[in-house]
């Protein structure tokens, strides 16, 4: 079909990354794009500054960057700027050793629920570790291992939760998008089959009841 089979009912991890790159992050620009009033009127020099003009995002922040004064932009722009050494990305508040340790503590204390990490934590962590490793205050290898710990703890919980699969519903509070995405084919297909089995055993009664009421 027009859409390849493996994309028909789920996202690929690359598409999940694409979704996450639409989030805003804080950056420290290393360039200044804000124009001084004096410059604006100079005219005599004749050089026209190029400006950002975006269709899918606001460009005010981009046209008003001042070096080393923090501002907020979309992650994909931040990554492009970072690539050219024109900014440094500020890691989100939960991506620090102290905060990650606290989350791990929460995870181990409450074995029956997931702690409230943002929906994109795994993707953000991976992207920033890969592209902006020099911008963290804490040593990156330690952050990496903490993120790995969190992921493993949550995976064990998922395995435990899968024993509760049923024909009607499942509650997955605080499970992140990438984690849901990798489980989606399994959970959806299994629950679908369970529902089919359940329905085919019970439809008859339902239909007969309905008919009797009509009569």
């Amino acid at each position: 079909m027009a859409l390849p089979a493996h994309l028909q009912e789920t996202f690929s991890p690359e598409e999940v990354q694409f979704l996450v790159e639409e989030e805003t992050v804080k950056i420290f620009p290393r360039i200044t794009t804000r124009q001084k009033r004096r410059d604006k009127n100079r005219g005599a020099y004749g050089d026209v500054d190029t400006k950002w003009s975006m269709l899918t995002t606001e460009n005010d922040n981009l046209n008003n960057m001042v070096a080393m004064r923090s501002t907020e932009v979309k992650l994909w722009i931040a990554l492009l700027l970072k690539q050219q050494n024109k900014c440094s990305i500020v890691a989100p508040s939960w991506l620090t050793l102290r905060e990650l340790n606290r989350k791990i503590q929460q995870e181990t204390n409450n074995s029956d629920r997931f702690c409230d990490l943002p929906w994109n934590w795994l993707v953000i962590a991976n992207v920033l570790f890969a592209k902006a490793a020099d911008d963290f205050h804490d040593p990156v290898h330690e952050l990496r291992s903490k993120v790995q710990d969190l992921r493993e703890i949550r995976q064990t919980k998922v395995l435990k939760g899968l024993k509760q699969l049923n024909a009607s519903h499942l509650q997955l509070d605080n499970l992140s998008l990438l984690e849901i995405n990798e489980l989606r084919p399994f959970i959806v297909r299994t629950m679908d089959k369970l529902r089919e089995i359940h329905d085919s055993a019970n439809t008859d009664g339902g239909v007969v009841d309905g008919d009797e009421e009509e009569i």
Partner: protein, 249 residues
């Protein structure tokens, strides 16, 4: 279960034992002797697509065709044929399911066990069988997820894994063609089929020991899955593999 669903078409061609309630002239070709009539109380194996319809409609049902088909089914004698319990839903199999769903070789019982069960349950709205199959799937799904989530993204190993798997599956196909006589044979004791194919495919000679054990275990496990479960395993496995690839790139 769509009209163009190939698996569904294959499920529908599974044969089930039937008993005729009427003498019908001209239908002898179902018994492989054309020209003769079919006698009352003849026992025959008919493909499900034919048996399902014949079990619902009967000789004098013209005027009540638009009525609920189940009403006639309850009358029993009215329909052309009566469905008998096939081997795959016999007490022996049900007991094996209740004992240990995880180690059961569904593929040897019927490659389309779950889908057949689904149709059978729908035909009789059999709640007991429904519950048993529900539990069966739930238990086996855990196992499928466990095997599917142990992913190696080492490509060389991945290729060996795939070729070993294909070898094993092909071998299973061949031996299934050789003897169709005893589909239930492997329920009793060890399933010689699966162990033989796992050994024959030359696993363990070329890959590292721990990987080889994993490989042998998952191959043996995969051979016990029915066709729906295989698809489920494949999709789950691909999903875990893609995610892992992305995370560690």
């Amino acid at each position: 279960m769509g009209y163009y669903d190939i698996d569904d078409i294959l499920v529908d061609s599974t044969e089930v034992p039937c008993k005729f309630n009427y003498e019908i002239p001209g239908l002898g070709y179902l018994e492989n002797n054309p020209g003769k009539p079919i006698r009352k109380n003849t026992k025959l194996s008919l493909p499900l697509w034919l048996a399902r319809v014949l079990a619902i409609v009967g000789a004098d049902s013209q005027e009540q065709e638009d009525m609920d088909p189940n009403a006639e089914e309850e009358d029993g004698g009215d329909a052309f044929v009566e469905l008998l319990t096939p081997d795959m839903f016999s007490n022996k199999v049900i007991n094996a399911i209740k004992t240990d769903p995880k180690s059961l070789d569904l593929h040897a019982i019927n490659p389309y066990f779950l889908d057949m069960a689904l149709k059978w349950i729908a035909l009789y709205s059999d709640k007991d069988l429904g519950e048993i199959v529900y539990e069966l799937l739930l238990e086996r799904a855990q196992q499928i997820n466990n095997y599917a989530s142990s992913v190696s993204i080492d490509t060389e190993y991945g290729n060996k894994y795939r070729s070993a798997l294909l070898d094993a599956l092909r071998l299973q196909q061949n031996s299934a063609n050789e003897d169709r006589s005893g589909p239930l044979a492997s329920i009793n004791g060890t399933s010689s089929l699966t162990t033989r194919s796992a050994n024959n495919s030359g696993i363990g000679s070329s890959v590292g020991t721990s990987q080889a054990t994993n490989l042998a275990a998952s191959t043996r496990f995969l051979l016990k899955l029915d066709e729906f479960e295989r698809q489920l395993y494949k999709d789950t496995h691909d999903s875990y593999r893609d995610t892992k690839k992305w995370v560690s790139k």
